[in-house]
């Protein structure tokens, strides 16, 4: 069979020259040991003007239809919950640039369950939100502890399963911190362009990429394999100002919330965390807390609610006495556990792990009032709005209460 090129002193080839079949052009492979001439690039004989115009029109049409479809699926233009850390890096830089009175660190629970505007209504201070989905707050706490600029209050939210994990929840904070320390000019510029176009487009959500949607079609067709169907699907939505919520569709779509719940159950298998790991985390946390306190700052821990099914798994994974109680005792730190907060009982958690928007505001209202009592670094305003209660948020139809 004919080859694409003629042969001469090609690597491993004989030196006899073959004829070049028609429809081919010579390449560098055909010209051994000589100066390579200017390449030829022929343009195929096609009505390119008409083709390109039709392609452009069709592309605009299809993209518009796709955008419409994505909006009908309750994706939101400007949503920045895309698994990248550009926005996070910018928020982190604020700690270096100005006197930040309050910042929030932790995992997706404190991220989605905190209403920053409500904090501002209660205290006059809008915290910097540095919590990261699926991560332990400890690496960020240590980073902040090493940053002499920070002399304020760090509210550290946690699911113990994330905070005391030493394997699975440290990669994302590490990646985010690396980006905050060095970001290439092209990445910075891409982010700025993204911020310009993102508010007009809902389709940019990475959970709704073409390949992701196709991969999710497979509900375990192959026996014995848990495939991408069991990955975490879209859970949250967020804006550029750091405010994040549970994704609005999860509040009403029982199929999606049931899927998310089943994924959480798989993500936290009830194997116990060993004492050595726990002690290591306690020591690191105390070191970080002490550094912040030495500068006049303070740290308060917050444990947001989880549904009864999730809580049962979490308690098997790492019981409250071994984690939460030990943490507060060892670090001599104040903390607010959802169990001890009357206003956070019976809130709605559509997928068992995160509160609805309305309930997040109620939870925020409750825990911020207690934080203000526990630390002199946060003061409630004199014209305080009334305290919120469970009744302010439980009318959501999905029944997943505890």
């Amino acid at each position: 069979m004919a080859s694409s090129i003629s042969s001469s002193e090609q690597i491993g080839a004989d030196t006899s020259r073959q004829t070049l079949p028609s429809g081919l052009r010579l390449t560098a492979a055909d010209r051994p040991g000589v100066a390579q001439p200017v390449p030829e690039r022929d343009i195929p004989d096609q009505p390119w003007r008409g083709i390109s115009l039709v392609v452009l029109v069709l592309l605009i049409l299809l993209t518009s239809l796709w955008e419409w479809k994505m909006r009908s699926l309750k994706l939101v233009p400007g949503d920045e919950s895309d698994g990248t850390y550009d926005s996070w890096a910018r928020l982190r830089h604020q700690v270096d640039k100005r006197d930040v009175p309050v910042l929030i660190i932790g995992d997706s629970r404190i991220l989605y369950d905190t209403d920053l505007d409500r904090v501002a209504q209660l205290t006059g201070v809008r915290p910097i939100q540095l919590a990261i989905v699926g991560s332990s707050g400890l690496p960020i706490l240590e980073d902040i502890a090493d940053d002499s600029h920070f002399k304020g209050l760090a509210i550290v939210g946690m699911a113990e399963t994330a905070f005391f994990d030493t394997k699975h929840t440290v990669a994302r904070p590490k990646e985010a911190l690396e980006l905050s320390r060095w970001e290439s000019p092209s990445k910075r510029a891409s982010y700025q362009i993204q911020r310009v176009i993102s508010p007009g487009l809902a389709m940019l959500d990475e959970d709704y990429q073409l390949s992701t949607l196709i991969f999710h079609l497979d509900p375990d067709w192959r026996h014995g394999v848990r495939g991408p169907y069991h990955d975490v699907w879209k859970v949250g939505e967020s804006g550029a100002d750091g405010q994040a919520w549970i994704w609005r569709r999860l509040e009403h779509d029982q199929r999606l919330s049931a899927h998310a719940r089943s994924v959480w159950h798989q993500l936290f298998p009830p194997f116990p965390i060993d004492d050595k790991s726990i002690n290591g985390i306690l020591v690191r946390t105390k070191t970080a807390v002490d550094k912040i306190r030495a500068r006049g700052g303070d740290v308060v821990f917050v444990r947001p609610p989880s549904g009864p099914d999730m809580r049962a798994i979490e308690d098997k994974h790492i019981p409250k006495a071994r984690a939460w109680d030990a943490l507060l005792a060892y670090t001599h730190t104040n903390g607010i556990h959802t169990d001890d907060l009357p206003a956070s009982q019976n809130l709605v958690l559509p997928e068992g792990s995160h509160l609805t928007r309305a309930c997040a505001t109620v939870f925020t209202d409750a825990y911020i009032r207690v934080v203000a009592q526990q630390t002199p670094l946060l003061h409630l305003k004199s014209d305080l709005p009334r305290a919120l209660s469970t009744q302010d948020c439980v009318q959501t139809p999905v029944a997943s209460m505890h």
């Binding site: 081919l24 390119w48 895309d82």
Partner: protein, 471 residues
Amino acid sequence: MIFNSLVFVVFFAIVLILHAMPFSWRVKKINLLIASYIFYAAWNPPFVILLWLSTVVDWFAARGLAQAEQQWKRRAWMLLSIVVSLGLLCYFKYGHFLVENFAHLVSLAGFKYSPPQSSIVLPIGISFYTFATMSYTLDIYLRRAEPARNFLDYALFVTFFPHLVAGPIMRPTELVPQFEVPHKATPYQLRFGLALMTLGLFEKAVLADGFLGPVVDQIYNGRTVPGFIDAWVGTLAFSGQIFCDFAGYSITAIGAALCLGFALSDNFRFPYAAIGFTDFWRRWHITLSAWLRDYLYIPLGGNRHGNARTYFSLLATMLIGGLWHGASWTFVVWGGLHGLYLSVERLLRKQFSGYRPGRIASGSLGLLTFVLVNIAWVFFRSKTFHQAIVILRGMFGRNAHAEPALAAIYIITTVVIITGLVLAHCSMRNQTLEAAIGRSHPTALTALWTIMAFAVVIQHGESNGFIYFQF
């Protein structure tokens, strides 16, 4: 800056507009040069200094070479160029690797030496632009080419952004003459260039990153011991990923240059339709294999000094070619395997010199080539030899405790893509892409272009770097 990023879209639009403005040719070239430096500096600005260093040293070495009359002076200028280029490459790319191996060697001799933690960052594309600048001085040394007439043309040859960081590895004689006379894309070139860019981005963003990358990661980054199906699908996925990633980059680069009115060299010619390994290397990364042939294989003796010398040159070239891809012994083994394949093929060709395979035999030989190329890819992708052996054992059905690792959807998408890719390569193996496009019906072409562009739009997501950037 990478092609599949928003910032490149804006950058490229500005470059196109500037290039279409009624400036003098010199001003347009300066614009392109500045744009190319911005393109490179967008990763890490300080590394532009390396690019300048490489550019300036080879410019002066080439001038010295051209003016020198005695052979020893010519050789000295040539060596200066080689030492600086390879020195940069060795320090940034192989420094840590060399120190690690040195430590291992002295430990074998009973000495204990712990090398300091390396903080060397690999400058993007250094392997590509050092090879481009070396070819400039080497061509002049070998009296194949004259030095460029002015520094601007030469600097633009080195820096021209479409080929700068991942090839095609251009030779000065291919590009410098294009910069000497005004070039502006015709409307046809512009439209066809955009079509090529769409094809390249489709291969990269949709096929390589979207569909094949996750499958490869599942096998090569996972902890499961793969069985026959999983090991093969994971490796086939990698063969598709590396092709779509790199050929996608090359096609995008060729399209981008064409939009500006310039022609870059072919870098791939449907390699998975190769019959035999000589044929494969005429189709895979053509500009690198031709570079290695011209500046390494032939100077080592090529095939003109007897069998022993030929096999030595062949193996040495392929081993160095393997090492070019990365500072790891797994790459060397990959190169060595290809050297072995080529040597065996050469022996067989001599043994059966009169044999002309028919259609079935050609198909079988093509299939055998593809299978052996995939076996070599295992070493290319594996981080360690242990991992490579585990996967190879899986491919031969020898993993006793294998577990299923890939979901059915991963297997289905990989098989569909790889089958489509191989069939496309087979159907076009004896023609150029342009010839195939020229024979297509305009409606089919419109539909294909639209589907690819739409797939790129709805795949979007975070821009992943190209695999070959790390080389």
